[in-house]
């Protein structure tokens, strides 16, 4: 095995091209658990922690687009300017593991792992994020739904890495909610992110941990838009919120596993959807 610590994106991409069995290491919060428990799995590691290009984010006000480097840690999304731009992302970041995990873990790592329970991912789906990839061959950008393909499966090529994630800022309420056995240090049993866009009058909701990948509930979104004027933000009938929750439940595709049952997950994700909608409309 070998370890490489490039200091620029170009050097990192060259290593990805040259090394035979390359593995990317960002915050290590998924990677090192594997290494500690399965020592045979380490080959040629490219550690990204010194690649400063990946650790920056910027806001392009003319296009209303924010681009967040794959190496930005959750701690940076929890507070400050990024949290103001994307409250849903801040809320999701705050639920990840513990402060120690949030000081090291990154969105690039969440995308690399592509677990349906990854807390950053429903937010990226609800915000219609675009994943920017690069290799020595060039760059490409994929809508998040075309990047994440299934449990621990994504469109990343062997010589490619995630450089950043781009998202449009939105006007209106957005949030994230998660159910687990406790508040800290918990992998979600069910989660949801809701974005209410008052300019376009649209709602977008994405679910985590209730399917093989993150699920966008396009039918429930459409139904809500027909029932309720999101731009006007008038008082919301409880009956609409309840029905929205039920419809979201119906679009989930959960399974039984060691963390929960499919039945509970289906119920819980509907409760989360209703709750998020009510939070978003009571202002």
């Amino acid at each position: 095995m070998s370890i490489h610590i490039p200091t620029s994106l170009d050097d990192a991409l060259a290593l990805l091209h040259e090394l035979p069995r390359v593995q990317l290491l960002a915050g290590g919060t998924d990677f090192m658990v594997e290494v500690n428990f399965n020592k045979h799995d380490v080959h040629d590691v490219v550690a990204l922690r010194r690649v400063t290009e990946l650790q920056q984010w910027h806001h392009d006000a003319t296009t209303n687009t924010v681009t967040i480097g794959a190496g930005v840690v959750y701690a940076e999304m929890e507070h400050g300017e990024l949290a103001t731009l994307f409250p849903a992302l801040a809320e999701a970041a705050r639920t990840v593991g513990s402060p120690q995990i949030r000081a090291a873990g990154t969105l690039g790592g969440n995308l690399g792992t592509s677990s349906p329970a990854g807390d950053g991912l429903p937010v990226l789906f609800a915000l219609d994020a675009v994943v920017n990839l690069a290799s020595h061959r060039g760059t490409r950008s994929l809508p998040i739904g075309e990047f994440m393909l299934g449990p621990k499966r994504n469109a990343l090529a062997v010589d490619e890495l995630v450089v950043s994630i781009s998202m449009k800022t939105t006007t209106g309420w957005q949030g994230y909610a998660k159910v687990g056995t406790r508040n800290a240090m918990v992998i979600s049993v069910a989660s949801a992110s809701l974005v209410l866009d008052t300019v376009s009058g649209t709602a977008r909701i994405a679910l985590g941990s209730v399917g093989p990948t993150i699920i966008r509930c396009t039918q429930a979104e459409q139904w809500l838009q027909n029932q309720y004027d999101i731009s006007a933000r008038k008082e919301l009938d409880e009956a609409i919120a309840t029905e929205f929750g039920l419809r979201v439940s119906q679009e989930s595709r959960p399974i039984d596993d060691h963390r929960s049952t499919a039945q509970y997950r289906r119920h819980a994700v509907g409760v989360l959807a209703k709750r998020l909608l009510q939070r978003g409309c009571v202002q």
């Binding site: 590691v45 000081a103 240090m185």
Partner: protein, 159 residues
């Protein structure tokens, strides 16, 4: 770096050579087994318990989740580096409040509390709880730990 290469880590202000180490070793393992710094404890080796907490480049992280050889160039502070002998105010407060029982969680907690109070001298109760939520203690029930933190906050405020 290939399989056997020597590398150096900056720990508690000193450059330390790591020799004969497998490159897949965690920072926790290297600190304890290669550098003679057993203060950081290992209980889970999967980031869940916080007993291995160290400060790396200004952030409190789990040393079990840091690939040691990738930490070349980083500034690492362990529990041993917090003091050159005398007890810190946080350590003293843990003793005074009876916040140490088996003591296994203590080094990680002490590092986490110092880190919190360095950046946030007057945290709210909620901020303390959140800051220490990655440090599991199975003995004390946390009451005495929070009492110790409150004691330090009050003491520092009076100084």
């Amino acid at each position: 770096m290939s399989e056997t290469q020597i590398y150096s880590l900056r720990v508690n202000g000193k450059l330390r050579d790591v020799t004969d180490a497998w490159l897949g070793e965690s920072l926790l393992y290297v600190l304890r087994e290669r550098l003679g710094l057993p203060g950081s404890k290992g209980a889970c080796e999967q980031g869940e318990c916080g007993s291995c907490t160290v400060v790396m480049d200004g952030a409190a992280v789990c040393s079990c989740l840091v690939l040691a050889a990738s930490a070349v160039g980083a500034d690492i502070t362990t529990i041993e580096g917090l003091t050159d002998g005398a007890l810190t105010d946080v350590q003293q407060a843990f003793i005074d409040e009876g916040a140490v029982q088996c003591g296994f969680c203590t080094p990680g907690l002490i590092v986490a509390v110092h880190h919190l109070l360095d950046s946030t001298p007057r945290p709210s109760e909620m901020e303390v709880k959140e800051a220490l939520s990655g440090n599991i203690c199975r003995c004390t029930g946390y009451g005495r730990i929070f009492a110790a933190v409150t004691r330090v906050i009050d003491q520092r405020a009076q100084q």
